[in-house]
């Protein structure tokens, strides 16, 4: 406990100390090194102490009659580890990447404050400190998003983010208000002791879904995420996508599993339904996008959906009295949170390196980078395979656990859930398959083929620090995929506290297999699979090179009789996505194409235009935005009245009130 508090205070101190040093040349390296060291200490402390007893303390800060309650329990430790590992790797990456920052003074002071705020959210034990830390997290990340305020659309992204963040905090504020009751104490202990009627519990649940979901990026509250995450510097994007969404997921788990008490079966519905929709729609968005960082941001939305599906399953199992299955689903959710932090950080680091090397982030203007940036492309490839849930990487292990818990759903007593859960499973399978397509497309268009622009052709490999961060995360993606049992066992204390059940201990199982429920049902051995993949692939390579030619041949491609097409005639990211766009997006996004052929004799080139409509924006946000705009236009006249007119308003209002009082008083 003292270590954790000292580290958080240290991060805040770094944030304050960076102010006078901003002009100094070594400021970037110093700030990020300090953040790296502190985050590593926090991460190590969290990893080692997850099994320990809870410790709590009250600091004399915040509201005078409440104080700042701090509590470290296994769930907090699990998320502290996730948060701080992501923070450490982002800091390591930024030691190199930060040197390319045009205005480091706009990033350096807010970065440690952002890290400190995320830690504070996780360890807070009363509603006031929680919301304070939550809002600090939002504002610090907003400042980081606005670091490149000169870029087009950054200001717009910042505005949308600010509105959505305030909206989400507002919802959480009301959720805590309901949970605490009319005369309630805002310490979490008092909230745990306070029980709500089903109606109020439902309302609090909806508010928690809105509050935490808007930060995590649940459809339809996700609109800010693909704008804000890519607008920030890349290490901050990695933090926002990999870590801040996890803090939001922590908030949801804390409220639903811990604060609200024993769940009812219908509590799982919002998480299951929205999670399924988010997973499928998020990845479809990602497939329509050609901006590399936006693809990654949409993929974050998809993964948040996957995690919410697992959380919903855990709620359903817990409410139905199946603690073993609930433990399985919740472990899967936590494991996938950890995994997503690892591979999404790697992917954003890779994207950041590409942007630094080429100045481009549109996939249609990249290509062929595997020759220029071999090491970072290897890390990006590993993370892409992990996020596509390919064995033996970690993404497969956690998604496999989620599917295993879906397969337990026939044991659920409710008919509605029995029907719903397999349907959500189908959405999850669809999302997983589309995610693979999405990352084939992202990796292929960015790193394979031939460079589409000269900038892409002249790219240079990233610096040592960035490569170290990428390789560390990518290696961990592989290692946690090979030995998932260690992570599962490590997570059990957190799961046991929340659902009063646990998975079978994995360390006792021979051959490093993992067994979700019982050995007779199903088991998975990542290491064995990896060994098989490695041996068979090497064997195939040897055979191919031995018995076929090992020469690299270069030949002109078939140009349909039009010579000089050049590099633009490659498969592009858009063309790779076309089949999926035609099958899925025609309904979901009202996608259509318009081909324009000039008449014979006209020398204009033919053109093909694509049209997409974002249904969420079109049907939910655009009406609200236009209503706000219209009322603002109406109220604008009020700004330009004379003093006398304003006085008349006061006068008339006073008279009307007096008359009302005289008539009905």
């Amino acid at each position: 406990m003292p270590i954790v508090l000292a580290c958080v205070a240290g991060l805040l101190a770094v944030s304050a100390l960076s102010l006078p040093l901003l002009r100094h040349r070594a400021a970037t390296a110093a700030v990020y090194s300090a953040c790296l060291a502190i985050s590593l200490v926090l991460c190590a402390a969290a990893v080692l102490s997850i099994g320990q007893a809870d410790s709590e303390t009250v600091l004399p800060l915040g509201l005078p009659w409440l104080g700042a309650h701090i509590r470290l329990d296994p769930l907090a430790y699990a998320f502290l580890a996730i948060v701080n590992f992501g923070a450490a790797s982002a800091s390591l990456y930024a030691i190199g990447y930060g040197r390319h920052e045009a205005e480091p003074a706009r990033v350096l002071p807010f970065y440690p404050a952002f890290l400190a705020a995320m830690n504070l959210v996780v360890i807070a034990d009363d509603a006031y400190s929680f919301l304070f830390a939550w809002e600090l997290m939002s504002l610090a990340s907003w400042a980081l998003v606005m670091a490149r305020h000169h870029a087009a659309k950054t200001a717009y992204a910042g505005l949308v983010y600010l509105i959505m963040a305030s909206f989400g905090t507002f919802a959480l504020l009301f959720a805590f208000g309901l949970l605490a009751g009319a005369h309630g104490d805002y310490a979490f202990d008092a909230i745990r002791a306070h029980h709500l009627s089903p109606g109020l519990a439902g309302l609090a649940l909806v508010l928690a879904v809105v509050g935490a979901g808007s930060k995590a990026g649940l459809v339809p509250l996700h609109v800010w995420l693909p704008l804000a995450h890519p607008a920030a510097p890349s290490h901050v994007s990695a933090l926002m996508s990999g870590v801040m969404t996890k803090v939001a997921i922590y908030a949801f788990i804390r409220v639903t599993f811990d604060l609200m008490g024993a769940p009812a079966w219908w509590w799982s519905l919002p998480a299951l339904l929205l999670g399924g929709a988010t997973a499928a729609i998020g990845v479809l968005y990602a497939l329509m996008e050609t901006d590399l960082k936006r693809v990654l941001a949409y993929s974050t939305i998809e993964n948040v959906g996957i995690i919410f599906i697992a959380i919903g399953l855990a709620l359903a199992f817990k409410a139905s009295g199946l603690p073993g299955a609930a433990a399985l689903a919740l472990t899967a959710a936590l494991f996938h949170s950890l995994n997503h932090m690892l591979f999404k950080s790697t992917l954003f680091f890779g994207a950041g390196s590409v942007i630094v090397a080429t100045g481009e982030q549109d996939m249609e203007r990249l290509g062929g980078l595997i020759h220029r940036m071999p090491i970072s492309s290897a890390a990006f490839l590993a993370a892409s395979m992990a996020i596509s849930a390919l064995p033996p990487f970690n993404g497969f292990a956690s998604e496999w656990l989620i599917f295993q818990s879906i397969l337990v759903s026939p044991q659920l007593p409710r008919m509605g859930l029995k029907l719903l859960v397999p349907a959500v499973g189908v959405l999850l399978a669809l999302a997983a398959a589309l995610a693979a397509a999405c990352f084939v497309r992202a990796f292929g268009a960015t790193y394979l083929g031939r460079p589409r622009t000269t900038a892409a052709g002249e790219a240079r490999e990233a610096d040592r620090w960035s490569l170290a961060a990428m390789l560390t995360c990518a290696t961990l993606c592989l290692l946690t995929g090979l030995f998932p049992g260690i992570v599962i066992d490590w997570l059990q204390p957190a799961v046991t506290v929340l659902v009063a059940g646990q998975m079978p201990p994995q360390a006792a199982i021979p051959w490093l297999s993992i067994v979700p429920i019982s050995a007779s049902r199903s088991s998975y051995n990542g290491f064995l699979l990896f060994a098989f993949v490695a041996v068979s692939a090497s064997f195939a390579a040897v055979v191919v090179h031995r018995f076929a030619s090992r020469m690299v041949r270069k030949a002109p491609f078939w140009d349909c009789g039009y010579p000089g097409l050049g590099v633009v005639a490659q498969y592009s990211a858009t063309s790779l996505a076309q089949p999926i766009r035609r099958v899925f997006a025609t309904v979901a996004f009202a996608a259509h194409e318009q081909a324009e052929m000039p008449p014979p004799g006209d020398l204009r080139p033919a053109s093909l235009r694509r049209f997409l409509r974002d249904p969420v924006w079109h049907f939910m946000y655009a009406p609200v935005a236009s209503a706000v705009g219209a009322s603002a236009t109406l109220l604008n006249h009020v700004q330009f009245f004379t003093i006398r007119r304003y006085l008349s308003f006061v006068f008339v209002a006073l008279i009307v009130l007096l008359v009302v009082l005289a008539l009905w008083g």
């Binding site: 330009f640 004379t642 003093i643 006398r644 006085l647 008349s648 006061v650 006068f651 006073l654 008279i655 007096l658 008359v659 009082l661 005289a662 008083g665």
Partner: protein, 222 residues
Amino acid sequence: MSPSPLAFDIAHMFAGGLVLVSFMMLYQDRLLPLINVLSLHSLLLALSVAWQAHIQDKPDLYVTAVIALGFKSIVIPMALRRMVVRMELHREVEVAVGTGMTMLLGIGLVALSMDLMLRVTAGANALVREDVALALSVVLLGLLMMVTRRNAISQVIGFMSIENGLILGGAGARGMPLVVEISVAFSVLVAFIVIGIFLFRIRERFDTVDLQALDRFRGEHR
């Protein structure tokens, strides 16, 4: 404590006089006489408060009366008069609503406040009821004046008369604490200074204190 009929009649006379003088303000459309009326208004207030001090046996209300007499009846009107002379203002006040209409509105307001206050304060003694009702009338008439005049000085005078109404109500309702009283007096003084400086600034810019000039400057023609 029920006041004697004579004491009640005298208090009533002063308070009613105050309302009457408020109507004189509404009617007056030249600046210098308007300032004289303000002076008269404040004098009546001083007399009224002094009478209240006498019948309620509250010596601190005498201080209030002296403040009203000194500041509002003498200092401020003199300063306003100097301002008008030094700035060589047009002596005529432009009205936004016709005088007859304004008077009718004023009568309505007095009727409204009487009707309302006499009902609301049904439990209090007669002296307080009359005082509060008349004080509300004075406040509303002052507000009406601010609304219907276009000239900045006359708006200042309207503001002063509102403040007089407040003090009348406060003195009738068993007296405000002196601290409140002094702070109100000072705030009025500060407001007066601010408005005075503001007037000079407006005049430097626009060569007039007619508020319509401000509107024209903002590109509004009405």
